[in-house]
Amino acid sequence: METLRQETDEAGPSIGSENPDERIAARRLRIAARNEAKKRQELGSNSQEDTEIKEVRMSQKKVEQSEKRMAKLQADGTELVTNILVAADFRESKRRAEMEEARRLRIEKLENEAKSSLEKFEEITQKWTVAKAKQIPQDLRDALISQQILCGQLLEDKNKVIIELQQELKASDDRYVKDLKKHTEEVDLMIERLQEQIISLKKSYREELDLVESTFDEERRTLLADNRMKWEQQRQRQSDRELELLLQRMQQVEEHELQLQRLRLDNTKECNTIKAKLEMDVQILEQQLQKMKATCQLNQEKLEYNFQVLKKRDEENIITKSQQKRKITRMQDILNNLKTKCSNQEKQSREENQSLTDDYKRIMQQYKDMQRKMRHFAAVDAKRLEDVWLMNEAEAKALVRQALEIDRLIHEQQLGLAWTPPPLTVMEQPGPVQPRNRIQPSARQAAAQALVRREAPGEERELEEQTDGNTVEVPGGPESTGGRMDQKTVKRLLELLCDEMGFLIESKLLKLLSPLEKDERSLIKLDSIFSALAIESEEDVYKMADFFMKYKFQQKDQAEQHSSVSNQGETAEQKDSDLIHPNDVLRALRTFTALYCKPRDISSRQLSGIPELEGRDDSEDGACWESLATVVPEPKLKVWSTLEAALEKYHFVLTERSKLVNETQHLKQQNSELRMLLHQYLNSKVNTELAIPPTQVMKLDPE
């Protein structure tokens, strides 16, 4: 801290300096130093604080003293120097005042002089008028002389003034020179004083500086001594403590050494045992190590071998892998190709399939057609066979009858014998083929009958009998078992069907039917309904009616069972209990179709007439025909041949005769023709022109 202060005081600007800025700077430094000191004091111990402050104050005081002294010295110096300036100023002002005064006096004097001279001048001018008035030359001369004297006085006065002024001017010139001299003197003096001042200030500054330095030195010295003493004390104390500590430490060291020795001994013992054990271990381990090394070597070799093998394999693998990869790629290509092929194939096969199915359908269709045709043809064939058969039989029978007739004729006419007819069993016997004249009445007819019956109740019976007859003829028909249905119920049922089953009729048909009569309409409707339901025969109609009746009874039973459930249905059913309820018609019809349509189909197919053809046996045919051929016996044939021969002769004669007849006939004709011609010629006009007309010739021959 002291050094800092010294520095500031020595090197820095002093507070006593003339320059105010320097002073300010010096003060600032001092304050900074003080603040620093304060800080240090706070940090330092309290004991040191007081002494330091005291010391600081001592040096501070000294510095302040010197500062004051220097300030005073400087002020005195500047005063001394400026004294000259002030004196000069004073003189100048005094001179100015004097000058002013002198000027004032001068002006006054001049004015006075001017006034007096003016008076004189006026006097002179007055005298001039007086002189002009004077007539006497002496007087005039006197006056002139006096005027001259006056003018001379005036001039003298003026000259005096001028001389005075010139003297003043000279005096002021002298004074100016003197002033200049004085000024130079003063300037010299001032310079001298300045130099003196500078020298003295320098000297005093140096002295002060020395003094301050010496004080600071002293302070420092004392401070140093103090500090050194303190230091010594502290060091002494420290060394004592150190010594003590050292002794303690030595003691401790000894103790520790002992302990160490003991521990070392223990440790060596322990160490030896452990060493032995460990050596043993080491040996064992070395052995093991050797073993392990051997095995290791072995393993290594093995492993190397394996490694080599694996390497090889790996290489192979790599090769195979690459091959596989190539193969895979190839396969992939193939696969792709195959896929494309497959897809193509699939497409093709699908197309093929489609075509085949189409073919199949067509073929099936064809087959069906064929069957149908076959059936048709079979039927036709059968019919034809039947027809042919019947025709041939008839022909044969006619021929037989003809032969018999001829035989009879021959016998009766030619031979004149009584003819006995041969036994004609063959003729009476029917052929294997019977003509089929049984035609079932169609459903439509049945329906028509049923419907018409209402209008014509009279015919009803007749029709009924007819149907009876028809139905009776059919052996084992379902209707015969079902018994007779009430015609009325059938009719009502049909009407019901007609009303309810409208949906089965085509809409077009309905339109077409609208203009027709009610009966006809219902008939056509029923016809279409029956066609839709595949009900073809009257038998089917009755079967249906029967079913409906049965169904009704069933329903009734069910309804009774569920009477509690549905009251409405009960009431409706009770209203027309004898007939099926319109709402149930559809259900009943469905069950009916489900039940009967299939078996009938089968049965109808079986009944199609094919078994007739199949079942026919042609064993009797030959005999039959044979019997027909042998109607005429052998002897009779001999008779006939002889008769033929005789007859042929007769025939010959007859032919000759006929020829001749013809010839004559012909000649007769020629004759008539010729006659005709002649007649023609004769009747023609040319005959008149001729000289000799043929007519005359003819006339000659008039016949």
């Binding site: 003060r27 002030v86 100023d89 002002s93």
Partner: protein
């Protein structure tokens, strides 16, 4: 298309020929440029660096081709070191900013000189002194004004102060011989002939944009035995041109026109040009012939400017002028220093100033030495000192205040605590009073010291 192709074909051979010819010509110097391997004394160290050669060339041809800004810093230093100081300023002025070069220039021109006066800038010093020299040696009607104006573009940025210690009159036989120390007649003579006009500042000042300080002396330095009164004329025209120039120079802060025979009329002209000047801080019109009217004009200026320092010592201001000044002083808020030494204020002016001090709150320094003041001023001043607390320096030297005045002043001083310096030499006071006043001053000084230290401590 074909045609074009053919043309191209015809063109190519010609071009190729030309190229080959150029190659041949280039090949020759290449052959000549060889290093003689046998030379044992050859070493690379002898060969000057190309960079150095270039730099030397740049230095040599700097006048024709000033290449400087493009150089590397190291090369710049080299060039600056080698650059001649005699180079024309027009080349170097705006190019080189290095102080070392300008120091060399200054020293080669004027020898040792103190650069601290010029803000420690050698360049500024060079240009200021250069311009001052030119103006001081300017002879109207002989020297071409261009010679001054030519320098302006180079100096403009660097000239801050012009201390012109002389202005030469035109060389012509004086039409009349005049030997009269009366100032009025001299000023009247100034009107007569235009022949006595000095350098016209209006052509220069508006171009120096950085000018802050102007010091003028309309007179001849060191005329010796060639003394003639007309060497020291400040003509009305000079005054008008100067006023115009001052009005145009907006950056001016300090104006000093000393020993130039500025009388009332010229003072009024100058002041009218300085009214409402934006930057003027200091005005010095000492050693002139300003009377009461001039003082009144200056008083008006005080009211319409920011002047801080005003020096009009050694003039002829009397009581009325001082009254006008003190009237302005009472209201002025900026003036810090006022010097009225060596005037003729007398008691009338002194009392007026003292009364102005009662109101003024910013004047720090006041010099009223050698003003023919007496006891009444002392009483007025004592009264002012009791109330004023800003005045620190006061000079009342060379005034006949007398013993009574000293007593009164002592009494006044005893109530004052701000005054630090008070010059009361040669005032005919009793020694006792002087001593007492000195004591008071000393206590005030120490108090001020303490206050200042406290202030600085507080600020720190």
């Amino acid at each position: 298309m074909h045609k074009v192709a053919v043309m191209n074909l015809t063109k190519y051979p010609a071009r190729i020929n030309r190229q080959t010819s150029t190659f041949n010509s280039a090949a020759d110097p290449r052959k000549m440029r060889r290093i003689i391997a046998e030379d044992p004394e050859w070493s690379l160290a002898v060969v000057p660096l190309l960079a150095n050669l270039c730099l030397q060339n740049i230095v040599k041809n700097f006048k024709e081709k000033p290449i400087f800004d493009e150089l590397l810093p190291g090369h710049k230093a080299f060039v600056l070191e080698k650059l001649s100081t005699s180079l024309s300023l027009s080349v170097t002025a705006n190019l080189i900013s290095d102080e070392a070069y300008w120091k060399r220039c200054c020293e080669s021109r004027w020898g040792l000189s103190d650069v601290s006066e010029y803000g420690h800038s050698w360049k500024r010093m060079l240009f200021e002194r250069h311009l001052e020299n030119i103006i001081e040696l300017f002879i109207p009607d002989v020297t071409d004004p261009k010679s001054v104006l030519d320098v302006v573009p180079q100096c403009r940025n660097y000239v801050r102060r012009l201390k012109i210690s002389q202005l030469l009159p035109p060389i012509r036989e004086p039409p009349k011989f005049e030997e009269d120390d009366s100032s009025d007649s001299a000023s009247d003579m100034g009107h007569e002939g235009p022949s006595m006009d000095h350098f016209d500042f209006s052509i220069l000042l508006d171009k120096l944009t950085n000018l802050e300080e102007l010091q003028l002396v309309y007179g001849v330095k060191g005329c010796g035995m060639n003394f003639e009164w007309n060497l020291f004329e400040f003509t009305f025209r000079d005054c008008e041109s100067l006023a115009k120039a001052l009005k145009s120079c907006k950056s001016l802060k300090v104006l000093r026109i000393q020993q130039s025979k500025v009388d009332d009329d010229k003072c009024r002209v100058l002041v009218s040009s300085l009214l409402d000047h934006p930057s003027l801080l200091e005005l010095d019109l000492s050693h002139n012939l300003i009377g009461d009217r001039g003082a009144r004009a200056i008083g008006k200026l005080l009211g319409r400017s920011h002047l801080k320092r005003l020096a009009i010592y050694n003039n002829q201001i009397r009581g009325p002028g001082a009254q006008a000044l003190s009237h302005a002083l009472a209201k002025n808020p900026s003036l810090v220093a006022l010097n009225l030494r060596l005037n003729r204020l007398a008691d009338e002016g002194g009392q007026a100033v003292a009364q102005a001090l009662l109101k003024n709150q910013n004047l720090v320094s006041l010099h009223l030495g050698a003003n023919e003041m007496t006891e009444p001023t002392a009483t007025a001043m004592a009264n002012a000192l009791v109330h004023n607390s800003t005045l620190r320096n006061l000079s009342l030297a060379c005034n006949r205040l007398g013993v009574d005045g000293g007593k009164v002043l002592e009494e006044g001083m005893s109530h004052n605590s701000s005054l630090v310096e008070c010059d009361i030499r040669l005032t005919d006071m009793s020694l006792e009073n002087e001593y007492c006043i000195g004591q008071i001053l000393r206590t005030n000084q120490s108090r001020a010291c303490r206050r200042q230290t406290q202030d600085t401590g507080a600020t720190q």
